[in-house]
Symmetry: C2
Subunit: 315 residues, 2 copies
């Protein structure tokens, strides 16, 4: 039996046909064109699913189920998507709509949850029973895996790890609160931190790199300059690592998973980031001689979404 | 079948004989005298267990298992207690030692976890599959129940909800970090907050109540004065509610349980506290129209420890 995994994003839809072990047999993509009614988008998803199955020279009869990762909150029990800000969706009966086109079980869940699930089956946290996955991107997405299954809480509003408040009255967040973890651990955060320290470092390599245009600073600029030893970049990076480590320590002291995997754009900093975080965490854990979660870099990259969605369907 | 529940504290040991439904048939207590070697304390626990069974006119053969709540971290798999700061215990082979006196299955877990488990079976969160329990005492203890079972994480260092950092670089905590939730949501916190605001309120009722001796201020003083409308007490109480609500919102955004139950000394403030917290939370949740955890007062009081421990044994 094989499974279809759908990674539904604000700009593109990706679909993969995936084995039980998480190997991709075929994949395809199409633009989301999110201004359209949800019915048109879901019809495109269904058509792309059919095309990917044909491309793999297989038949819909070989497909066990379809899993879908959505950039919003989901109710896996009803198949309704109550909120998807990126797509402007509100109470979309996703599963019902898909069933107009394909008669297969359809399972929906949050995209970060789905990617974390993929890592827990076929990625860096494979073999673990409990893990947490953090996507360090424009914001910070979170996934919680407990007893080998994605955990989104009793009302589907859990695992929003990016919105854990780590600094009461801190930096205002898009969610309406202030001091959320993502204000200190996202790509957006490291860019802000760099801009905040730059006035004290007029000769920073960061400024040279962007031709003096601060609006061109991205997370990679800051991290590359930090790797090269630029003092301004190192100051921003140090602040960033402290924020990231604080959220990770909160995860250790609450969920205590076996593995905490770091994915998303900022995690492309690789061992430079991982080593810095790994140095910080032991100073902050309560029980200094007790074991705690392994901190690792995610392995599946951009395919995590389709692999995880497919494996969700398998469940 | 009946079960023995042991509530091992820094000053006293309580033992109860409990039915499968969490009803107490008999109970007894004895001082801990914690300066003694652990062997002597454990022998006293075993003797108290035997006495309570006799008092209930039952036989050890009727007892299915013995559960024990310990004020520290536990390894339920090995039965070893790696750390118990209150008792000065380090790597105590608790279960092995108990078996020298009583030949019954013995299960150990953290005391807050055990009390939260009791609430989830026989208390305010009965019937729920997921719940969180917070003891608002000298510190803040936490319990996480997922799928009807106590959850302490992969290494036994989880559910330390009082040490979730909510204010980076905030008030220093005994754990070595700063800004932990318990620095803003414990009885200790509300006392500190009152002392901080008092200089601005020289005529505060709090000062009258303690005869001008600030060292006599306790959480009840502050809450009683707040109930009576004293401005200083209300200012401290407002700060306290904000801190408590922040931690609760973090729990909603991560674990999203069905119920969050408040126990411990500060929860004796009753509806005055509950209503204030319930007013604050909806302003802070991300998804304003989605349901989230019910916030409730714990019901079992001082007996939660023995009931939960016994029910742990039943599992």
């Amino acid at each position: 039996m094989v499974y279809l995994g759908v990674d539904l994003g604000g700009t593109g839809i990706k679909v993969g046909l995936v084995t039980e072990k998480g190997e991709i047999l075929a994949k395809g993509s199409t633009p989301t064109l999110r201004e359209r009614p949800y019915q048109a988008i879901i019809e495109d998803i269904a058509n792309l699913c059919k095309r990917v199955v044909r491309d793999a020279k297989m038949d819909m009869a070989d497909v066990g189920a379809i899993g879908v990762g959505v950039p919003g909150i989901c109710d896996p029990n009803t198949g309704i998507i109550p909120f998807c800000t990126n797509l402007g969706w509100h109470k979309v009966p996703f599963v019902e709509e898909m069933h107009k086109h394909i008669d297969k079980p359809v399972i929906v869940d949050n995209d970060a949850t789905v990617a974390g699930f993929a890592e827990s089956i076929a990625g860096v946290s494979a073999g673990s029973s409990s893990s947490v996955f953090l996507t360090l991107g424009t914001g910070v997405g979170g996934a919680i895996i407990i007893n080998g299954k994605p955990y989104s809480g009793a009302h589907g509003v859990g695992s929003e790890l990016g919105h854990m408040i780590i600094r009461v009255d801190g930096d205002p967040c898009n969610c309406g609160n202030a001091g959320c973890f993502e204000r200190y651990a996202s790509a957006t955060a490291i860019i802000r931190m760099a801009k905040e320290v730059l006035p004290a470092y007029p000769n920073s390599r960061i400024l040279t790199r962007v031709g003096g245009d601060q609006s061109r600073i991205n997370a990679k600029t800051v991290i590359d300059c930090a790797k090269e030893g630029d003092p301004a970049a190192l100051a921003a990076f140090g602040q960033y690592v402290k924020g990231l480590a604080t959220g990770i320590v909160n995860i250790i002291h609450t969920l205590d998973p076996e593995v905490i995997a770091l994915g998303g754009g900022v995690s492309m900093a690789g061992d430079f980031l991982l080593d810095a975080v790994r140095r910080e965490i032991p100073k902050m854990v309560m029980y200094k001689t007790m074991p705690f979660a392994r901190i690792e870099l995610a392995q599946l990259g951009a395919d995590a979404g389709i692999i995880g969605a497919a494996l969700l369907g398998k469940q």
